[in-house]
């Protein structure tokens, strides 16, 4: 189960993810990001403070989002505050090299 809430900060849209990005959570995430891109939000921050699990399907939705945003001029995607278990999955899969990952949200507040 994944819950997503959004708010603006420093001219960017912050999506706070709460719960698990598993097979069903990845669909929710993909739909949410696509909806925000269609609304013209091209600079996104994913706040992962309360995201406690990610599966391979979840990784795919992150990769999908990154691809879509990079196709948009000036589009950016930043990830913040990954839990150690989630960070480990990013490291193992090599995703930590393709995403801009920040320790916490402090630099965007």
């Amino acid at each position: 189960m994944l819950e997503i809430s959004s708010h603006s900060s420093d001219n960017r849209l912050v999506l706070a993810l709460k719960g698990r990005v598993d097979a069903s959570g990845s669909k929710t995430l993909e739909e949410s990001i696509l909806a925000h891109l269609e609304q013209g939000h091209t600079r996104l921050i994913l706040d992962c403070t309360e995201m406690n699990y990610i599966s391979s399907a979840g990784l795919r939705s992150f990769l999908m989002a990154a691809k879509k945003i990079r196709e948009i001029p000036g589009g950016t995607l930043d990830l913040c505050a990954l839990a150690p278990a989630v960070r480990e999955v990013f490291e193992i899969s090599g995703f930590s090299q393709i995403f801009s990952i920040h320790q916490d949200m402090s630099q965007f507040s």
Partner: protein, 569 residues
Amino acid sequence: MRKPESITYWLEARPPWTLAWMVAVQQLSFLGVYLVLSPLLISSLNLGPDHFQSLMSSTLMTAGLGVILQAYGGRWTGSGYFCPLQVTSASFAAMSLAASYGGMGLVFGMMSVVGLTQLACSFLFRHFRGIFSVEVAGLSILLMGLGMGGNGLRMITNAHNAMVDDNYDMLLAATTLTLMIACNVWIKGRLRLFSAFAGMLGGTVCSYAIKGDWSVDMASLTAVPSFRMPVVWNHTFVFNPELIPSFVITGLVLALHGFGALVLAQRFNDADWKRPDMHPISSGIRAEAITNLLCSLSQGLPLTSSGGAVTLGAATGCTSRIIALWLGGMFILMSFIPRVFVLWRLVPEPVIGASMLFLALFTSLAGLQMIASRLLDNRKIIAVGIGLITGISYETMTEFYRLLPPVLQLFTLSGVATGVTTAILLSALFRIGSQTRKHHEFDLKFSERDEILDYLERQGSAWGARPEVVTRAENATWQAIEILIDHSLSKNDQIEIETIYDEFSFSVILHYAGGALDLPTSPPSHEEFLNDEGAVLTMAGYLLRKLADHVRSREVSEDHAELQLTFRD
């Protein structure tokens, strides 16, 4: 095994000799206090000055041999750690009993039973690893620290120091403690290595500065010879079968005490420490056993590994084994110099008390950390909790323990002995019926993710696994279940989860109806991952291979496969 940042000179490091001998002197000044004060406490032995000197010489000689044996004894004897030996009050009750039955000949004769019991324990402990667990080791260290701290405070507050007015006791203790803390916390460099010694020296100098008149102490110092060949009393060794239980229990208590101190040495010397390594611990207890057999033969006091001295080494940043040679040599040398015994007796009680308090801080916190490093289920909480409470309450309930039946009194000679014995007995009791292998079948139509994770967490707690290991197991297991279901690799919704725990690992085996899961050694490319739905499965298999420390996937029969995920604890 990784060097902790706080240690300057680690196990195999060779500090310059100019430092090494000073570190050994610091240890000597701490341990010597125990050695000299202990026989004074055994009032029932009624020792004359000559006998006192002989007892001290023999004890120092064997303590010197013991510390070297402990550090360099080889594979079978000696832990390989710098773990000095000290006299402990745990042996006084049995010794006093033997002295009242048949004099010192019986005391020294029966002391061989202590050594033989420790020898037996060194073999037995290895076979009961489940009982001598991390939390029991942590409890014994915590109680050792609390006992040391309590004794230190008592020495400070109850001291009737003949040298200075009672009002100065607190001042002396405060001076000692402040110097130790200042050198340890704020001063960088080599002085930190001598923080305990600096405090003791400062406190003693302060005491003499206040007192002004040294003539009485000088007289007591010059009254004893400056050189004397160590002499064995020549008591005939006597044995009394009636006293065997008392001395067996003393041996058991000393072995437990040694177990705690040796675990502490392992803990302080390894930044990645996870659990007691029983092989060096058993060898270390054997070194103690041999030392105590030598003590019996040479007619000295029984010895056990000193948690305080181990802490002193760690707190000041020097745990090098080479110090054992220096300290051992000094002990042996001093067994020829009776004047040194008197010097030790001149260190004021509040100074000793403050030193014990300082070292107790490190010891008790190390014990607490060890207990907290494990997930504890209710059985473990009860075993460790009751052990802790009985151990702590010992000092306030001495009357109660004195009224216990004689057999039980033998197990309750000190707070450490009482607490650890209780925890060990309860741990052994709770192991009845507990299994290291469990099966549970889940119907994924009705089972929620949290139900499966709760099950894994319950197993982890029951076996005392580390929380981070259980979390890793939970994440990987759910990753596996998700792909088995989402990619229809399991032909139905029934999955049996088997959990296996041993001292070193936590394994989860998923049994399901279907084929073996592929576990590729490399992840899919980003392009493949985006364009090919099946690449999610490839990535999942790759993640499982990497998330677990060991993974095995196989088809057991035509319609039954299993996936084993093993996590090192």
